[in-house]
């Protein structure tokens, strides 16, 4: 049961082979047993979860259940959930119990009837690629406990990989769904910017942040996205579009699919074994009837520099709300109001968050705005235009998700620039606002490798189709870490 797909769980619940309470208890027991070693969850509330499961069972009994009603899920601790401690991985919010639900929570739990198993660990305010910046300590990768699960959605990734939850939510500002999915052998999807509401999702860089599913398969991701996506008047950047069934094209044949291979993603800088696994996956796609074409994203090497101006600039503005007045941490001892702000923020934020706030404050400050912030926005346009050109000759772009497999704990923690470069293949997608996925495509040195798929705007259903057909031909996504059966 712990390895069942969401569709299988749905069928088992509908056929009364298992109740939501039993299923939820099964996963809560696993969390209780295995989480101390992994640190994937930061908050678990058994009574709350079981109450939701009871409500789901009542819906199933009454015949008003939806496809996902009663299925347990792990929620990244970036989503405000009423009555749940919502920390965003920070001391600043270590005692914050949200008075309201994020739209993602309302839709998934309130409407679809998914049952929350708890809140997952993450890099502080989603700023990190290894989950090591969390105030609650690092998460360990279930494939190798000495290695990181990736970040920032590292707790969600580890929870699903170790089958502490059938599936989870993540958010992706520069790769935070795709990179941990790659490092933990999961399927993860970052939708087109504006498809999933950001209301109640604690903001990092508002023009880049987007939530999405992390699960064992493309099919599971499609079903989850159906429950997450949709127009929301509470998010001013939410797009007014007709509702879609993201699972509608899963089985479409891939004959004639044109795969673009950016030469910039297949050059130096990527681990050779990772590259070999990615190339083998592309060969498999050719067997499925796809053709490949070399493309170029000539400005992609500028994505990391531009991102580390734009994201910190937006973060410095967003995180100004944490001042120790209306919510969050306030220092014990302080003098005047300014001193209260300065001490509360000094003690409440971790080192990486402070660095990014300071970068943001600098690039937005008088005399530097044009040279940094505007220049970064112009480069963002060039990067987005590269994709527009590329999609004239291909339907989907493929390459590695991450230049390496999971690195060891502490390996990059002391050098922010090395850490930033682990997102070298994912960041351009956020700058352009495109949908992207990571799909398990093999192993290097016993550790999972992710294949990145990048689609055109609103091509989620197509990406899921491309991923699903591959998962019908290969079983990489079904491999589990040792001891997880």
């Amino acid at each position: 049961m712990i390895n069942a797909s969401l569709k299988q769980l749905s069928q088992a619940l509908a056929a009364k082979q298992i109740s939501s309470v039993e299923l939820t208890q099964l996963f809560l027991d696993r969390i209780n047993r295995l989480n101390p070693a992994l640190n994937a969850f930061v908050t678990v509330d058994t009574e709350k979860s079981l109450n939701s499961a009871r409500a789901a069972d009542a819906r199933i009994a009454a015949g008003t259940a939806g496809l996902l009603t009663g299925i347990p899920i792990a929620q990244k601790d970036i989503f405000c959930a009423e009555g749940w401690r919502t920390t965003c991985g920070s001391k600043m919010l270590a005692n914050f119990v949200s008075p309201y639900d994020a739209t993602v929570i309302r839709k998934m739990e309130g409407e679809a009837g998914l049952v929350s198993l708890g809140k997952t660990n993450m890099d502080e305010f989603a700023m990190g690629s290894s989950n090591e910046t969390s105030y609650f300590g690092p998460v360990r990768n279930p494939w190798d406990n000495g290695r990181v699960p990736g970040g920032s959605s590292g707790g969600s990734a580890a929870a699903v990989a170790a089958r502490l939850a059938p599936a989870a939510t993540g958010t992706d500002t520069g790769g935070s769904i795709r990179q941990p999915a790659a490092l933990c052998n999961l399927t993860g999807l970052k939708p087109t910017y504006g498809v999933v509401s950001r209301y109640g999702m604690i903001a990092f860089a508002s023009s880049l942040d987007q939530a999405g599913p992390m699960a064992a398969s493309a099919e599971d991701c499609a079903l989850l996205l159906n429950s997450m996506a949709g127009y929301d008047e509470r998010d001013s950047t939410s797009l007014e579009r007709p509702a879609e069934d993201y699972a509608r094209d899963l089985d479409k044949p891939l004959a004639g699919l044109r795969i673009g291979l950016p030469k910039e993603f297949f050059g130096e800088g990527c681990d050779a074994e990772v590259m070999a696994a990615v190339r083998a996956a592309i060969a498999e796609y050719e067997k499925l009837g796809a053709t490949t074409v070399e493309i170029s994203l000539p400005n992609s090497h500028l994505s990391v520099p531009a991102y580390y101006v734009i994201a910190p600039a937006e973060a410095s503005s967003n995180l100004s709300r944490f001042d120790g007045v209306r919510y969050g941490f306030r220092a014990e001892d302080y003098g005047n109001l300014d001193d209260m702000y300065m001490k509360s923020r000094a003690q409440g934020f971790g080192a990486e968050v402070k660095r990014r706030i300071m970068i943001g404050a600098y690039v937005l400050s008088h005399g530097y705005y044009d040279a940094y912030y505007l220049q970064a926005q112009r480069i963002r346009r060039l990067i987005a235009n590269d994709f527009v050109e590329a999609f004239k000759v291909c339907d989907v772009i493929m390459g590695p998700t991450s230049p390496s497999t999971a690195f060891t704990l502490g390996e990059k923690a002391a050098d922010p620039v090395q850490m930033y470069l682990s997102d070298i293949y994912t960041i351009a997608v956020n700058l352009a606002g495109l949908p992207g996925m990571s799909v398990p495509c093999g192993f290097a040195g016993g550790l999972p490798v992710g294949l990145q798929l990048i689609g055109n705007y609103f091509a989620e259903a197509q990406l899921l189709n491309v991923a699903h057909r591959y998962q019908q031909a290969c079983d990489w996504h079904l491999r589990r870490p040792a001891g997880i059966e």
């Binding site: 008075p99 309201y100 087109t192 910017y193 504006g194 023009s207 008047e233 001013s236 950047t237 797009l239 400005n299 500028l302 520099p305 580390y308 101006v309 410095s316 001042d323 120790g324 007045v325 209306r326 919510y327 941490f329 306030r330 302080y334 005047n336 109001l337 300014d338 001193d339 209260m340 300065m342 001490k343 923020r345 000094a346 934020f349 402070k354 660095r355 706030i357 300071m358 970068i359 943001g360 404050a361 600098y362 400050s365 040279a371 505007l374 220049q375 970064a376 926005q377 112009r378 480069i379 963002r380 346009r381 060039l382 987005a384 050098d415 922010p416 620039v417 930033y420 352009a432 606002g433």
Partner: protein
Amino acid sequence: MSLTLEQVQRIAHLARIEVSESEALATQGHLNGIFQLIEQMQAVDTSGVEPMAHAQDLSQRLRDDVVSETDRRAAYQAVAPEVEAGLYLVPKVIE
């Protein structure tokens, strides 16, 4: 470009983050490393390129000016560090 210690302290003040001398020194090293990465942008000629602020070039939506929220002041103030009589308490700012 290289930030001086004084610049780091000024940025920290702009960001309202108290830093000790030793923290400022460590931060200086890290920020200079990051700015070295960022500086790659300066070699690119972007004249004539329209800055891109956002993935979707849309104008802000407007809604009717009607009451849509209920009064939840008590719930929102319950998470504040210090409140009294419905007000947020901070150190005195006017003598």
